[in-house]
Symmetry: C2
Subunit: 330 residues, 2 copies
DNA sequence: AATTTTTGTGGAAACGTTACCACTAAGCAC
DNA sequence: GTGCTTAGTGGTAACGTTTCCACAAAAATT
């Protein structure tokens, strides 16, 4: 049926082992290498990666498990990971969990069955607790979410700092009654909440944090309910880019003007955050760097399996826009 | 090292073939199946997918080659494809070409080496011409872009109709000097251009179409140059969601109000198109359906390889918003 | 010149599965 | 009871590679 290395060997007039060496590395005379390459062209031979992986015990595959590729943060990180992987001659298997622990478990065993070289994972809090390093046969790098203790290599944003930056920014613009909307399923949400509460407390303010399920709709509903209250906050700190669409939509629906009736500050510097009037103040995450750094950590771990685990904490960049314009003195 | 089927067989006290049958399908006594499952649990056995694929000659893998997963259209389609695939017990290999024919060729041979069961592909015009069905060892479904003649199964938007709908909409709102901005590398851009020109001609209007490379920056630059002209159009028809961000940004930079100074209508109903004032009029593509339908076509092709090829043409939905508000009578 | 090392090659044994074949024992029809 | 099917099982040959080993010839070292 399909042409294999044996056919190439026959056409080239050499042994299969020579063909294998000629295609990979290994001592082969220039002359023979020519012949083999000619035979490959003549026969249209394409190596069978399953066979290669089985025999060599190297899959050259890395797994990437994220909540939802439609979340622009993960899209960008995913793209960076893929680029780095393909540049290193590796493939990527991408899985979406929708923050569902059951699916996380499912995909985790899939990764085992694929015998991936390594895994990049953004787990929910629920599975984070269940993860034991020794249960996996490959190194794992956590992104966006941190585990307890230095159990795994990790790369994430300095979430506490980022939240504090936003709080500082809002306070400096005159806002004091600031609410916070955070994702319920990730440690990211918790960290951002903590940073927010700490920064508020440091300024003698009391914050109110609310947690919502990880979807734009949930955020919209929560924001709508909150903003309908007579004692609604003056400003809302919003934990991610998905939520931001929901919050802005809720404000629009209720006829509230940004920032006049409600100021908004959030995370993820998506292109549209600049375009929606009056521009949304956001923390820009170094998404490319996160993806690349995760791959770098993975490769280093593969090279030196017993090195101490590393946690790369990256700082966000605050992009101030009209959604947090200074509150007029009353 | 890692536990294999032989180990399980030994622990369960049966032969390897029995273990294989017990895990897959095949006649196995209930009693033995129990024992095998117990042995699997005891040993922590995880089947090796490379071996399974090599032996069974079924990879259960489908390839997905798109321009850029960061383009929200492809993100959504990709997500739908993945869901359908994983539901069918299949894996997905995702590749980004950035509309680069060289990378398309690279990934096409990768798909061959992976021995994928099938491929879903959004090719550039350049490779579309080069594609010969007989050169591939697996069925391929084209999405978003159509090849010449019914050579491949295809699922895409009715681009001509969609463009015409937008033109009609703009004309009915009083616009006559309407320009069009289209993607240069895809048939999609060409089809939308054709539909636009035809609809303009049908109304006795002359259109002007410009092609740009597939990036938001390119669209922004092109739009800025265009809108700086004294005889700039009253309205712009914009070929995709990526371009839309660029066009809106260009308008903002030049201080042009939408729709007062420049009306905008485009493609892809992203969440933010509703949020950017005064709301962008867009054609909403049935992205989920496109992904699902592509998978469906693929599975049907696998079942009946010799059936005539099918082309599924889906209609877009026009979502009218403020960016095309009626032109005041002068 | 004798030796050791290097280079290039072929044969064959893996890698971990599944699928084919052969076989036994049991069930069923006559 | 004889034949015939069927369920359940084990042995073993693939699947298409890479890698180990052996070996010859050439090159380098002594």
């Amino acid at each position: 049926m399909t042409v294999n290395i044996k056919d190439v060997a026959r056409v080239a007039g050499v042994s299969v082992s020579t063909v294998s060496r000629a295609l990979g590395e290994g001592p082969v005379s220039a002359e023979v290498r020519e012949q083999v390459q000619a035979a490959v062209r003549a026969t249209g031979y394409k190596p069978n990666l399953s066979a290669r992986r089985l025999r060599s015990q190297r899959t050259q595959t890395i797994g990437l498990i994220v909540a939802d590729i439609r979340n622009p943060f993960f899209t960008a990180v995913g793209r960076a990971v893929e680029d780095a992987a393909y540049r290193a001659g590796m493939r990527v298997i991408l899985c979406n969990t929708d923050e569902d622990p059951a699916r996380e478990a499912l995909y985790l065993t899939l990764m085992q069955e694929e015998r991936v070289t390594g895994l990049i994972f953004a787990p929910t809090r629920a599975t984070l607790d269940r993860l034991q390093a020794d249960a996996l046969d490959f190194p794992m790098v956590l992104i966006d979410r941190a585990g307890p203790g230095g159990q795994f290599d990790t790369v994430l944003l300095d979430n506490r700092e980022a939240s504090a930056t936003l709080v500082d920014h809002l306070v400096s613009r005159g806002y004091t009654r600031i609410g916070g909307l955070f994702g319920a399923t990730s440690t990211t949400g918790v960290e951002r909440r903590d940073g927010y509460l700490a920064a508020m407390a440091a300024r003698g303010l009391t914050g109110e944090a609310r947690f919502v399920p990880p979807s734009a709709e949930a955020a919209e509903n929560a924001a709508a309910a909150w903003l309908r209250q007579p004692d609604r906050p003056q400003a809302l700190l919003v934990s991610n880019g998905l939520f931001l669409t929901g919050v802005v939509k809720a404000a629009r629906t209720l006829g509230l003007r940004i920032p006049h009736d409600i100021a908004v500050a959030g995370f993820d510097n998506e292109p549209w955050t600049e375009l929606v009037e009056p521009g949304l103040t956001v923390i820009e995450q170094p998404v490319e760097t996160i993806g690349r750094e995760a791959m770098a950590l993975l490769f280093q771990r593969l090279r030196t399996p017993d090195a101490p685990t590393r946690k790369v904490v990256l700082s966000g960049r605050c992009v101030a826009r009209g959604s947090t314009a200074a509150l007029p003195r009353t």
